[in-house]
Symmetry: C2
């Protein structure tokens, strides 16, 4: 989390304000429908494909496959295939994936702290 220090707090404001492409690129990956759920379910260690299908509520085979492939391409998780019968494939977080999990948790914490406030305001305005 301490990272390289390449981006300070002020820079973050600038990025949010000025650099649309950059913010979008990370949010598109992290904020899509399933990525964060999959990452969250790998927090305790490796999981098999079929396990994830059961744990992540409502995900389809297609989206699980696609999500796993994209996260793998970004280096957020690792895929380990065992040449057995029946075949077995395990997915686990890389250090990079774990660091994202921590950061993303802050956003979830924020949502938890302000959930009531948001819902209340939404009702008032007919949302």
């Amino acid at each position: 989390m301490s990272g390289t220090g390449a981006a300070r707090a002020q820079d973050c404001g600038d990025l949010l304000a000025d650099n649309g492409e950059f913010v979008r690129e990370i949010l598109d990956r992290v904020g899509d429908k399933w990525s964060l759920l999959v990452i969250g379910n790998l927090r305790d260690g490796p999981r098999r494909y079929s396990e994830l299908m059961q744990i992540v509520p409502g995900i389809s085979q297609r989206m699980l496959t696609v999500t796993l492939r994209l996260l793998g391409e970004d280096g957020l998780l690792r895929r380990e295939a065992y040449a057995e019968v029946p075949p077995r494939v395990e997915y686990s977080l890389t250090p990079l994936g774990e660091s994202l999990l921590e950061t993303a948790s802050a956003l979830v914490r924020w949502a938890g702290d302000h959930q009531v406030e948001i819902r209340a305001h939404r009702e008032n305005t007919g949302g």
Copy 2:
């Protein structure tokens, strides 16, 4: 940011893992194409509709209107209309919106710190 302490770190993991609907609800709002950009551009104070159109690169009238309305319904920003000629409308962050800006900045900071790493891995795997 210290919040109510209602959700501790462990709970966040649980939320990411178990509660799909809840995580989705906040990420759908925050992680869409424009919300965070608009919020970022309100960090220095009130902005007018036409200002935002110019500052946020590539946003259309429609999406700016929609985004502003949704963020307003959630209580993240405030809309102030002045009965003048020509008409003038100003948008500014609420305390709730400011707190989100801080939290979201952490995610942007993470993206900045690991941008190179992610890109490199993406190239290797043909992403």
